[in-house]
């Protein structure tokens, strides 16, 4: 087990299949019965349809009614949607969400690329580093939130203790209770949780770049910096797109850490859209209006996914399917 972490073998089998062949019947006798199709495709379609597709449609319908969850839903037409554009809390939530998405991307991407390049190296100590870097991925979001909450406690937290013993007075802050700090602290905790995952993605991506390219660049007299910009980054473009989209969709729907650490406060400074939706639905019992917020989240999610499909070539997989039918 002393061998350095070699290229993700299982991973690459999953991740970068050879160019897809035309799949389908051609040449092979088709003897599958409709019963086999039903047994194979039925369960996922049923499960997925009932708990994803039906709720999607239901969310759109619910966004057009007024309902507190108990009585009969009352038709409301577009009034919930009109409320969204008048609601100052919703407006704040949209801005806070945009900040979380944007800042998360800007903070996490460069650090993940740098750490990914570092951990892609085959030296033994880098393998050790890579292993330790993964640890936050094993923790549940709830666990991470509770850990940071007590670490950042202004009275008994670890940073406060550090500031007392080291005279670094700036460490003594009400990190999660100060309206001008809380959002950035939350974004930092989110980064702590997710940078390990994206580091892993970039390390896998870096190892898949053929060594030949670097050899050629060396012959051409390129220095390491030039190699990074001219060889590594262009070769990582799919990883950059995939990681970026996961980051954007992930922080768009960010909920757990904020719910546990600040619950949107102080004031509304960390109230992201998903948290606003949760509160409107399950605290204020306004299922109709909450569905407006939910539909908005879903539409943005799908819009980002269409980007994923366009950029990463998943669509070629789908069209291969259709072409062979």
């Amino acid at each position: 087990m002393t061998a350095p972490l070699t290229g993700a073998r299982t991973g690459s089998a999953v991740a970068s299949p050879p160019p897809p062949r035309r799949s389908g019947g051609g040449g092979i006798p088709r003897r599958g019965t409709w019963l086999a199709d039903l047994a194979g495709i039925g369960p996922p379609v049923l499960l997925f349809g009932l708990f994803v597709i039906v709720p999607m449609i239901a969310a759109v319908v619910l966004s057009l009614v007024k309902w507190n969850g108990l009585g009969t839903p009352q038709w409301a037409g577009g009034s919930n949607w009109a409320e969204f554009f008048r609601d100052p809390v919703a407006r704040t939530s949209v801005i806070v969400t945009a900040k979380v998405v944007g800042l998360s991307y800007v903070v996490q991407t460069p650090i993940s690329i740098a750490l990914g390049m570092f951990t892609a190296g085959r030296q033994r100590y880098r393998t050790l580093y890579a292993t330790i870097f993964v640890l936050p991925l094993l923790m549940s979001t709830a666990g991470i939130a509770l850990m940071w909450e007590s670490l950042l406690d202004p009275n008994f937290g670890a940073l406060t203790a550090l500031s007392k013993s080291s005279h670094l007075s700036f460490l003594q802050q009400n990190w999660l209770g100060n309206p001008s700090l809380a959002l950035y602290v939350v974004i930092a905790i989110i980064a702590w949780q997710f940078i390990p995952f994206h580091t892993l993605l970039y390390a896998v991506g870096r190892r898949q770049i053929p060594a030949v390219l670097y050899e050629a660049a060396t012959i051409d007299g390129a220095n390491p910096v030039q190699m990074f910009w001219r060889v590594t980054l262009p070769q990582l473009r799919y990883t950059i797109v995939t990681s970026g989209i996961l980051m954007i969709v992930g922080s768009l729907t960010y909920f757990d850490i904020i719910y546990i650490t600040t619950n949107g406060g102080p004031g509304y400074t960390t109230r992201v859209l998903s948290l606003d939706m949760y509160n409107v639905a399950f605290v204020q019992d306004q299922y109709g209006y909450a569905s407006v917020l939910a539909v908005i989240l879903g539409v943005i999610g799908i819009a980002v996914a269409v980007g994923l499909v366009r950029f990463t070539g998943f669509v070629s997989m789908a069209s291969q399917q259709e072409g062979a039918a």
Partner: protein, 274 residues
């Protein structure tokens, strides 16, 4: 090919800074979990002196952590079994048939990747409530498995598609049925990918918070992440107990990780990397 020494030093330094950022909170948490309520308030949280005790661990077990642990294990095991079986079968049929219906199902799955759970949580809650499944583990099994279906099916389709069709053809010519092909060829070849998928889905299910929060209520069906926050509600001033709970909730995954480090890292990194 050798990089200048200065560049390596900078890389090493920056990586070490990140290493400290990763380890410091974990170290703090481990240490805090071995305090009592009294020593937590008085001792320096960074130095392992001033009285350590394991009493918090018995406190959290007395508060029902064992039950949360059991619920999480049941939920995760059933979800893994369900998603792996379902997605392998579906991938096989999608690849073998490519009828219009199965391609349509495939495209729908693709879009399913993009729907955030938050966007559909209200109808899911209503649905589960109407099905009289509210506050049951079964509700979590169904919804978390459904959430894992798109990724699983997509990964399995892209894998099964690359199994040489000559092999399938040969088996059919030799008089094998579709079921023989599935059992003798597809299933054995897919096992490594299925392991990858199981780890990835398992982690997601184990750590999910929102669905248990919305779909369950009572302590006897609470899973670990939710249980931890219940613990916090119960012991809001007992930080060592909460930290001990968090640590115990990571422990099973840590054991898994130590036992199969490469497999875990490959499945996490490889599942979406292209």
């Amino acid at each position: 090919m050798s990089r200048p020494r200065a560049g390596r030093l900078v890389a090493f330094t920056l990586a070490t800074v990140w290493l400290v950022i990763v380890i410091a909170p974990l170290y703090y948490m481990i240490l805090a979990s071995f305090r009592t309520q009294g020593t937590y308030l008085t001792a320096n949280p960074w130095v392992p002196t001033g009285g350590l005790s394991a009493s918090s661990y018995s406190t959290v077990f007395a508060a029902g952590l064992g039950r949360y642990l059991l619920n999480s294990v049941i939920l995760t095991a059933v979800c893994i079994l369900l998603t792996v079986t379902i997605s392998l079968g579906a991938a096989f049929r999608i690849v073998r048939r490519t009828t219009r219906a199965s391609s349509a199902a495939f495209v729908v799955m693709l879009f399913g990747l993009a729907i955030p759970v938050q966007a559909i949580i209200v109808p899911i809650y209503v649905l589960i409530y109407k099905m009289h499944l509210y506050d049951t583990l079964f509700a979590l099994i169904l919804t978390l498995s459904a959430a894992a279906i798109p990724v699983s099916v997509l990964i399995m389709v892209s894998f099964v598609r690359d199994i040489p069709r000559e092999l399938i053809g040969a088996m059919l010519v030799d008089g094998g049925s579709e079921w023989t092909v599935f059992r003798r060829l597809i299933w054995p070849l897919s096992r490594p990918v299925l392991a990858t998928l199981a780890i990835y889905n398992g982690l997601n299910v184990w750590n999910n918070f929102l669905l248990p929060l919305v779909l369950t209520q009572s302590s006897n069906v609470a899973v670990l992440p939710l249980g931890l926050t219940k613990l916090e509600g119960l012991y809001s001033i007992n930080v060592p107990a909460v930290m001990a709970g968090v640590l115990l909730s990571v422990l099973p995954l840590l054991v898994l990780f130590v036992a199969m480090r490469r497999q875990v890292m490959n499945s996490l990194g490889g599942i979406v990397a292209r």
